[in-house]
């Protein structure tokens, strides 16, 4: 009966049936199961514009370097507030029409940062446009490709008011008399990136990350928050340096310098802490700064502010967690009396 050595029919049928059975167990059934999810209650559907942006994201192969999955392990907590769950992909991983399947957004390489929460981390449209036109104009050490074909370089006098102008630093600017304009595609792509934000779980439920190693868990920082235990420089590099640059000099025409800044060097750090907590849009020559109140703890803000006030020739005093806490309370009271 099972004379595989001599009967080619039996051999082929056995190999086929075996493989198909195993494939159904390990791929087809679980895949069916995974389709059966609902979006989270507050999860926004994608707009037409954002979906177009997703198409460009796929067209340019962004997925080969950028993941969109926050794994349930501790090292991934810098990419999101909680581990990703199947519902997160409810809208973005729909089939892209007849010719193309649903986009492989989870990715397998993290040559660039994870983008699950990029819309929250970096909401500034100006930053994204600069970064797409030439990543090195805002992140000097970046190895990301430039996408100049998402932009037009035109004579300055032909630019109309409703077009989005990209203000580049001198080293990257086109010859004088020319202006860089963001095409529709670039704006759609940025709209998509801005829409990438983790939706919080209903009833404030928290998904936990698996801690790195036992030893780390026990020898972690003690509860009494000691600003010194947080590395202000590292936090600055993670959170602030993409705009203000690692040397604190900013980008002319986009992001103001912190080195030698009056606000940063001021004896009283109140205004500086307020800007970090609430964001800033008072100067038209620079891009808008986002609010960090939701993203950073008091201790983290204190560590970052201390780093900024004592680096690059700055001579400000140290900032304590207590100071930040007071200002935060004051602002909260101000907003909800």
């Amino acid at each position: 009966m099972f004379d595989f050595h001599k009967n080619h029919k039996v051999l082929v049928i056995a190999a086929l049936v075996g493989f198909v059975t195993l494939s159904f167990i390990v791929a087809v059934f679980p895949a069916y199961q995974m389709q059966d999810v609902q979006p989270l209650p507050q999860q926004p559907a994608m707009t037409e514009n954002e979906r177009e942006g997703l198409n460009i994201y796929i067209r340019e192969g962004c997925v080969s370097c950028h993941t969109q999955q926050v794994r349930n392990i501790e090292m991934d907590n810098m990419w999101g507030d909680r581990p990703s769950i199947p519902s997160d992909y409810y809208y973005s991983k729909e089939r892209m029409g007849v010719w193309r399947q649903s986009p492989s957004l989870l990715g397998s390489e993290r040559t660039g940062p994870d983008l699950t929460n990029i819309g929250k981390r970096q909401p500034s449209i100006d930053w994204h446009l600069l970064h797409l036109y030439n990543p090195r104009s805002v992140v000097g050490q970046s190895i990301m490709p430039s996408y100049p074909w998402l932009f037009d370089i035109r004579d300055t006098n032909t630019v109309t008011g409703d077009e989005k102008v990209v203000n580049l630093p001198d080293a990257f600017a086109p010859p004088s008399g020319k202006t860089v304009i963001a095409k529709e595609e670039a704006l759609q792509l940025v709209a998509y990136l801005q829409s990438l934000q983790q939706t919080s779980l209903p009833d404030g439920r928290e998904e936990k990350f698996i801690p790195a190693l036992e030893s780390k868990q026990t020898s972690g920082a003690p509860e009494g928050n000691d600003t010194n235990s947080l590395n202000g420089e590292n936090l600055y590099l993670q959170t602030c340096a993409v705009c203000h640059q690692d040397n604190g000099k900013g980008v002319v025409g986009a992001f103001p310098p912190l080195a030698g800044s009056e606000i940063v060097n001021n004896k009283d750090p109140e205004l500086m802490i307020k800007i970090i907590l609430q964001g800033y849009d008072a100067r038209s020559e620079f891009a808008t700064m986002q609010a960090f109140a939701d993203q950073l703890s008091d201790a983290e803000i204190a560590a970052i502010a201390t780093h900024e006030r004592t680096s690059w020739g700055n001579t400000g005093s140290k900032v304590t967690e207590e100071e930040v806490r007071k200002i935060r309370e004051y602002i909260n009271k101000d907003l909800n009396p």
């Binding site: 595989f4 050595h5 001599k6 080619h8 190999a15 086929l16 075996g18 493989f19 195993l22 494939s23 390990v26 791929a27 087809v28 679980p30 895949a31 069916y32 995974m34 389709q35 999810v37 796929i58 340019e60 192969g61 962004c62 997925v63 080969s64 993941t67 999955q69 349930n72 392990i73 090292m75 581990p83 990703s84 769950i85 992909y89 991983k93 729909e94 089939r95 010719w99 399947q101 649903s102 492989s104 957004l105 989870l106 397998s108 390489e109 993290r110 040559t111 940062p113 050490q141 970046s142 190895i143 490709p145 430039s146 996408y147 100049p148 790195a212 036992e214 590099l237 340096a241 690692d246």
Partner: protein, 601 residues
């Protein structure tokens, strides 16, 4: 020996990581996934494996015993025959023996009293310096196997197209690798990193490896079935379809049309459909040829090749079906598809090729047919289940991840069975390796089969995944397997068979150059990305700013580019060797008798 030293260095590199993998617990709740349990399972499998070996040796000794009894019976019969002989007959036999013992050689029996004349034109080359000071002289391939011209042509054309895609695909790969160092190399959308990366992987997958495998496979089925290929016409059709697939696929990827970015699934379904049709035609052609075989048994190579064709067809269908690919369903299918693309197509088919070409180039049978069969069924069972190990710690169901990890460990069985089989086939022929230009390719391929596959299994464990996932280590692993195993074995097979088909050998120095540049290049490529990838993973665990991990990779990316350049150069040399082997012009004229005489004087 050089090889053993390289293997030693290689194993040194893996030891620390495997050791760590066994001692650290990531999570104690899921006991089934703890390394200890997995390790135990492996040990149990090893015990079962050894039990099977012992059982087989028992069986063997029983068969020997039966044989021994038969021989004793024969001896008894012979003794009786001697006793029955007459006196005169014994005298005659003794006389013959006596004169035989007295015979002495005169010293001229081999014709040393005659002049040396090569009447039949057998001598191809005469040298006065038998010791080449720079390069070891390798043995010539015994030329000429009687093969139908049609089959020769098919094999040659398949290999020719595959060589083209190899050079093209790795040129793209080389260019893409350099973009890590100089991201501003060009500003054309068609040449941007995100678009070219899949061009590279798909061209070497479906263009180079697939075409070369099918071409080499056609020779094996005809030869091992002792039959004519069922339909030459459909072989040509497949050739056109696959080349068309890669051509259209490349164009569409560069213009920005892709299937959604899933690795190896970037060609859209209309393009991949062409490939699938080619596969189905090839399957039918192979199947009918094997059905018409002139011997009862199906040689084990054909098991592997038939299965690879049928499994890959199923795989392509499941991979591209729209019914279960929304949301994370796509991710499940993606893990399944990208792993099986490698495991069920390239690995399975290539194993089939080794089972024919390795013994044939050593001119001896494969060590164990049964081990080959064991490896075949376990390949199907274990390889199919492990796709999700590409998504460990992802939002996919935990049980699916665990299954993948456990079965990854189970992959040791087919891998050890295969490696043992190949190494035992080579055993006793080690001296041939230094004398052959084909066997080093086989040896490297087989060693990488063991090291690359085992390393992949170990990488699936949760702790190792913790450090290495998302880093450049993955890229090192995929080159270790697709290049170290598949490509080296394909080269070995090509150098084995092509000179026999065309009657022309490549220059040995250039084959050596090809081998060493590819090998050293791969080594530089692999080690730099493994070391860099590990540092990158550790940097992430430390919680450093992401940009630091980019900056720290830069020297490793440089070494990767250097390794890649060596690999690419070796492909140019290989392409030249291929040209020499298939070139229509006559090779060096066989030396005339009169000339031989002159040289001798």
């Amino acid at each position: 020996m050089d090889y053993s030293r390289q293997i030693f260095i290689l194993s040194l590199f893996f030891l620390p990581f495997t050791a760590v993998a066994q001692t650290t617990t990531v999570n104690s709740e899921n006991w089934i996934t703890s390394p200890g349990i997995i390790g135990t399972l492996v040990l149990v499998f090893i015990v079962i494996f050894i039990a099977v070996l012992i059982f087989m040796s028992r069986l063997n000794s029983y068969v020997k015993l039966l044989k021994h009894r038969q021989i004793e019976k024969k001896n008894l019969a012979f003794n009786e025959e001697l006793l029955a002989l007459q006196e005169e007959d014994i005298d005659i036999i003794l006389q013959q023996r006596k004169s035989g013992l007295k015979y002495r050689l005169k010293g001229t029996e081999l014709g040393s009293d005659q002049g040396a004349v090569d009447e039949k034109g057998l001598i191809g080359r005469v040298t006065h310096e038998p010791e080449n000071p720079l390069f070891d002289e390798k043995k010539k391939t015994p030329l000429g196997i009687e093969t139908p011209d049609e089959l020769k042509k098919i094999v040659t054309y398949y290999l020719g197209a595959s060589v083209f895609w190899l050079v093209f695909g790795t040129l793209v790969g080389q260019y893409v690798g350099m973009k890590f160092l100089w991201p501003e190399m060009d500003h054309f959308s068609w040449l941007s990193f995100g678009r070219l990366r899949p061009v590279h992987t798909n061209a070497v997958f479906w263009g180079w490896a697939s075409l070369a495998m099918i071409g080499l496979g056609y020779f094996v089925i005809a030869r091992t079935s002792n039959a004519k290929v069922y339909s030459y016409g459909s072989a040509w059709w497949t050739w056109r379809l696959i080349n068309l697939t890669v051509f259209l696929g490349t164009l569409s990827l560069m213009s920005g049309i892709n299937n959604g970015g899933g690795e190896y699934r970037e060609y859209t379904w209309p393009v991949m459909l062409i490939f699938a049709i080619g596969l189905i035609i090839t399957f039918w052609n192979f199947y009918k040829t094997i059905a018409s075989r002139k011997i009862a048994d199906i040689y084990v190579s054909n098991w592997y090749m038939l299965a690879a064709l049928i499994w890959t067809t199923v795989l392509a269908i499941i991979g591209y079906m729209p019914f279960f690919s929304d949301g994370l369903g796509e991710t499940v299918i993606q893990g399944y598809y990208m792993h099986q693309g490698v495991g069920m197509w390239f690995m399975t088919f290539t194993l089939g090729l080794i089972y024919y070409y390795l013994p044939s180039s050593l001119n001896k049978p494969i060590y164990s047919y049964s081990l080959g069969v064991l490896a075949f069924w376990t390949q199907m069972l274990f390889y199919t289940m492990i796709g999700t190990h590409h998504f460990v710690f992802s939002p996919l169901p935990w049980w699916l991840q665990t299954t993948a990890i456990v079965f990854s460990a189970g992959m040791f069985i087919p891998v050890v069975a295969g490696t043992t089989n190949f190494l035992m086939t080579m055993r006793g022929s080690w001296s041939h390796i230094s004398k052959s230009y084909v066997l080093p390719f086989f040896l490297v391929g087989v060693i990488f089969y063991f090291v690359g596959s085992t390393q992949g299994s170990v990488q699936a464990f949760r702790f190792t995944n913790y450090v290495w996932h998302f880093t450049d280590f993955n890229v090192a692993h995929s080159h270790m397997t697709m290049y170290g195993i598949i490509t080296f074995i394909l080269w070995a097979c090509i150098y084995t068979i092509l000179p026999k088909l065309t009657g022309k050998e490549p220059p040995q120095v250039l084959v050596g150059a090809h081998f060493w540049m590819a090998f050293i290049g791969l080594f530089a490529y692999m080690v730099s990305l493994m070391v860099g990838g590990t540092y990158k993973g550790l940097s992430w665990i430390e919680g450093n700013a992401f940009l630091n991990s980019v900056i720290l990779m830069k020297p490793y990316w440089l070494w990767r580019a250097i390794g890649g350049s060596l690999m690419f150069t070796s492909h140019l040399v290989f392409a030249y060797n291929f040209y020499i082997m298939v070139n229509k012009r006559k090779s060096v004229e066989p030396m005339r008798v009169s000339q031989v005489g002159q040289v001798n004087n």
